[in-house]
Symmetry: C2
Subunit: 397 residues, 2 copies
């Protein structure tokens, strides 16, 4: 592996052309000739794309076609999901490996994945994704959320499994719809936050609850974050309610989220309520994004490209001009990095030497057209060049 | 060119594997060995994809990046659009040629395009697209809508230009927001329908009007369609209001649209109101879809793939199961064909010998993952094979 690398003539985040130099795995001021040089040809340089919300253990990428006859409610889908895990034999280790290698070619270098914990599979999925994380730790950062997809307090034994998951390598305590699924918002959130306290782990809660019910749950989350001084350690995923409130109520919750530094993850789903992206960003809320499930039992589509996700976010919000597209590109890079708490992120001196080169004339074009022949560098090592994975990358068995 | 061709082992619309035979440009019963055979390898066979709503004269495909700093209102965008036409020198002949050749590779064989008519450019864009249509008439059907993008009665001289456009080769009379843009719904619609009567042409109206205002305009369109016996000759494009009404009102308008055989074109835009797709189809409304503008001054994205459009429609409507995806595939094929009034469409004997082979295990997978290496056949001639255009196709200068 080269100890240093010079990447000539690139445009960081679409700005003026410059050269970037990486030494000992970090961006540095240039002091000497580099062992390796590449010509950036004026491409846009982005820091590693950040996948802040996916389900690595449940993708069906590379498996047979799942014939989806699932009903429309969230509960239909949770049941179908559990049945599929049983019947299709989804191997969390193999499937997480496949998804990570697929999205590496897009330049996704940081992933937060929710991983199911339930009384049927126990912590097998956690163990599988931990194994993949270990195998691929030189390529990508993986954060694992212990996720009680089927409910936690409502199914005896799940809470103990959540603890086991944290001991087995999960980094974050997950939660799910404290009211509409768990039927007891206070007890659910108290249990989640207590786990976080006990193990010193951040919190990430799936919150699909609608309108004022969601707003109430957000208030409970805000109160606990404040009481336990967990600013910067809590993420709310989806938070559809923020797109369903009257403007005054919406604004005051958004200000509170900014004040407590609670991050919001939105995928910009075309069929779910649109979050007020501009207002949230202007108010100082940390906004991250993710692909959610890719080609699974919930939804058959998705490729995990976080640059395409920036396009989805813009489209969902009717944001079509260049400044808008740059904004959604920020959500899928810097916003995600702050949301999931990455250290040393960015293209400046001292940051980790990670970058993605995208062939486009402007950053807005990169978002609008999502060109595929990207070059991906991590810690100064070229992993993908013009869309072609470097030799020697690991393969899944 | 082969006089007959046998396409072995394909699955029409995802059904059971069979062979398809084309003789003298139409599907036929097989009576002899074919001059040419191709192995379909079990691929999904679709009839030609139908683009029921685009703007061929305004795409910037292949041109410099348009730096979009346009404001958020429809009027901002109309002004920016007119300014861009002046300043960028968008050549309607060349640009329509480029878009058609790009979408041919996806299997788009039938296109209805709105083409601007206004007091600044006159009918130059109509003439340009007519020229392209003539040059490419062996590859693709193009219907041209004379479209008063900047208003009609509100700009003196536009109505006369609309007549000129029809004489110069436009096939359809276009209209635009009779209330919010033209400020006089009755006079606008009367003028449009009078033109249609005089020249014996169908009608296609852009209707973005919201809620009850849109519903009122729909009522005016229904009345005129009924009075002039234009059933099956009128399309309403966008019709956002259908997604904004209380259920009873929505249902009665939908039933009236079905009764008068007025087609509705929806692109499934993530940022505009979602139309009740299932209800419309179940009620017998003819539903077509389109890409709208591709990479233009209005929106920077889009590729014109009508199979991807079926995915967008499903995503916008929260339709994720296999039957849903088959339904949106129908909208982008048979629905479009009925909506724009194509004769001889489909995969059955006697229909024109047009088809698209998509490498996918099921029709739902074809929609969800939109595989690109398609084979495209028109009137028995192979235009694209496994994603590679055949030799001898025309090039734009």
């Amino acid at each position: 592996m080269a100890t240093d690398i010079l990447i000539r003539h690139v445009r960081p985040f679409g700005g003026e052309p410059t050269d970037l130099y990486i030494r000992d795995g970090r961006f540095a001021r240039r002091r000497s000739d580099a062992a390796l040089e590449i010509d950036g040809k004026g491409r846009i340089a982005l820091p590693g794309l950040v996948e802040a919300h996916t389900h690595l253990d449940k993708t069906l990428v590379g498996m047979g076609w799942f014939e989806n006859g699932v009903g429309p409610t969230r509960n239909d889908r949770i049941l179908a999901d559990r049945q599929a895990k049983r019947e299709l034999g989804i191997d969390a280790r193999r499937q997480s490996f496949r998804q990570i290698m697929q999205t590496l070619a897009f330049g996704v270098l940081h992933i937060r994945s929710h991983v199911d914990v339930d009384t049927e599979i126990g912590i097998a999925n956690i163990e599988g994704v931990v194994e993949t994380r270990n195998a691929l730790r030189d390529l990508v950062d993986v954060q694992i959320v212990a996720f009680p997809q089927s409910g936690m307090l409502m199914r005896d034994g799940t809470l103990a499994l959540m603890e086991e998951a944290l001991k087995a390598g999960a980094d974050i305590v997950g939660g799910i719809d404290p009211a509409s699924i768990e039927r007891d918002p206070v007890r659910h959130l108290d249990a989640i936050f207590a786990l976080g306290e006990r193990y010193g782990k951040p919190i990430d809660i799936h919150l699909h609850e609608a309108g004022e019910l969601g707003a109430f749950c957000l208030e409970l989350i805000l109160e606990r974050t404040r009481a336990l001084s967990l600013q910067g350690r809590v993420m709310v995923s989806h938070a559809y309610c923020l797109g369903m409130l009257e403007p005054g109520r919406q604004r005051s919750l958004i200000e509170a989220l900014a004040a407590e530094r609670i991050a919001v993850m939105t995928v910009g789903s075309p069929s779910a309520p649109a979050l007020p992206l501009r207002l949230m960003r202007q108010s100082g809320v940390i906004v991250a994004s993710g692909s959610d499930g890719i080609q699974g039992t919930w939804e058959p589509w998705g490729n995990g490209d976080m640059l395409e996700r920036a396009k989805y976010l813009a489209q969902r919000n009717g944001m079509a001009n260049d400044a808008d597209l740059e904004e959604t590109a920020r959500v899928c890079t810097f916003g995600g990095a702050e949301g999931i708490g990455l250290a040393g992120y960015g293209l400046s001196e001292g940051s980790y030497g990670d970058l993605v080169l995208v062939p486009a004339r402007t950053l807005a074009e990169a978002v609008a057209l999502t060109p595929q022949k990207r070059t991906v560098v991590r810690r100064g090592r070229i992993l993908v060049r013009d869309g072609v994975p470097a030799g020697g990358l690991p393969h899944v068995d």
